[in-house]
Symmetry: C2
Subunit: 119 residues, 2 copies
């Protein structure tokens, strides 16, 4: 039984930074691959962040001073852990508030009844 189609990918656009910042806010520190798997697991595979989108985003957030990195060796492999900077913490809150506000606005816009008798 096939249940969970992914969303048509357009919807995800613009939410990636918010997702990343918020996951790091809740989880302290995470590495890239872990983020992709966590999002996949938590959403029942409905949202799948591709590495081609994630890694450039992580690099951008780092260069903007939102994230800082810490490299840890796991055997012979390097794993790059990301944590929020102070700036990143406030940005995370702003982004989440903005997204919640946006979603409420969208619901209002979409749930509207046909306007009869008031316009």
């Amino acid at each position: 039984m096939y249940i969970c189609p992914m969303y048509s990918s357009e919807l995800l656009k613009g939410t990636l930074k918010t997702i990343v910042l918020n996951l790091l806010k809740d989880n302290g520190r995470m590495y890239g691959y872990e983020i992709t798997q966590r999002v996949k697991d938590l959403t029942g595979e409905k949202i799948q962040i591709t590495e081609g989108a994630l890694y450039p985003t992580l690099h951008a957030l780092e260069s903007q001073g939102e994230l800082q990195t810490e490299e840890v060796f796991i055997g012979k492999r390097v794993r790059k852990y990301y944590t929020l900077t102070e700036k990143g913490q406030s940005t995370a809150k702003e982004k989440v508030n903005e997204l919640v506000d946006f979603m409420n606005t969208m619901k209002f816009l979409l749930d509207l009844e046909p306007r009869t008798g008031n316009g």
Copy 2:
């Protein structure tokens, strides 16, 4: 007193078709400029659809058979009214369902408490 900043435009990405289809579903028929003004009014200027984004989207939806047009002269000016085709009506419902589902998934993803004691 300045209250209502627009959303950082990234969030809007991917929602334009859904907004257009749903407005037409609720309002029967509308023309392009009307859509921009309606969205602006209904959202307190938080969401502003630019004409550069809207018109190409309307043309695309029409060429995909989601919309049909009707030209009406207002004085010397042509006004292009858009209405949903049958295909457009079912697409509108699908798109709205998809967006609502997506927003619920996002809220779940963002409202998560730090996971302590279960991993």
